[in-house]
Amino acid sequence: MMDLLLGGPDRLAPYLMLAAALFALGVFACVTRRNPVGYLMGIELMLNAANLDMVAYGRFRSETAAANAQVGSLFVIALAAAEAAVALALVYAIFQNLRDVDLDKIRSLNGEEP
């Protein structure tokens, strides 16, 4: 049935739909997680969704587009790695200072004492 609705691996639709779902899940994780690591996971999900979209579009457009899309997604992966490293370093720094990493309790910018 899914085949009928979305086609199969040789159609664009399933990739895009999957990416949309991944993105939505990433959004949910981002908003609800109180732990920065959970937050990070949401972001990773969204990045992956974008990457999947990009590569899929490229493949269904042309050979050149496919190659360019892959280069782009390569860069995104590299950036994601960097971002993860910095995020983890931040988590560590916060942990060192506050002995906890609950995002809901870190509200100094809102004028509240931690």
């Binding site: 085949d3 949309a20 959004v27 908003v31 732990n35 899929a56 493949r59 190659a67």
Partner: protein
């Protein structure tokens, strides 16, 4: 229903379920592990898209690197079980609304675009079962040419960025860091 399809749909399911686990699981370790499954699923899908190099990189960097980092990060949490740091209903409502909006909008967008697939908006060439699973070496070579050619400067910038980020991360976690 051919072999490709038989592999394809379970991969999609793994990806989706893994992502759902990452988003919903109360226990952070479970969440991280299911995220790994999801990332691996995506790597599998890259094979279908003839992006073998990306697939491999995805496995190495994401599943092998970032996921480990995340697992390290989980260890800083006091409440790995997620029993006491339950997010409030308002946050859940907000998250639900936002993700619903994202799903609806992106889904609608994806639907529209994939319907226009045959209208010349995108190339109609599609991966056929004949080449699924075959590793095309030309793709990787071509990628290398691109990275060393037109994309050289961004490539170098990314390299520099990674270096800077690593140093910065080291700086952040120093003992006497602020």
């Amino acid at each position: 229903m051919n072999v490709a399809t038989l592999i394809f749909w379970p991969l999609v399911a793994i990806t989706l379920v893994g992502a759902a686990g990452a988003a919903f699981a109360r226990n952070l370790v479970y969440a991280a592990l299911s995220l790994g499954a999801s990332l691996a699923g995506i790597a599998g899908l890259y094979f279908f898209l003839q992006a073998e190099y990306i697939a491999v990189i995805q496995m190495i960097v994401y599943v092998g690197g970032i996921l480990i980092l995340i697992l390290f990060g989980v260890m800083f949490s006091r409440d790995i079980q997620g029993t006491s740091s339950q997010s409030s209903w308002s946050a859940k409502l907000l998250g639900g609304l936002a993700s619903l909006a994202a799903l609806v909008s992106l889904g609608k967008l994806s639907w529209t675009i994939s319907q226009k697939e045959g209208l010349g908006l995108l190339a109609t060439r599609s991966p056929t079962s004949s080449w699924v699973g075959q590793i095309s070496s030309s793709s990787t070579t071509h990628l290398g040419d691109l990275l060393m050619g037109p994309f050289l400067v961004p490539f170098l910038v990314i390299a520099v960025l990674l270096t800077v980020v690593l140093i910065a991360a080291l700086g952040l976690v120093r003992k006497d860091a602020p």
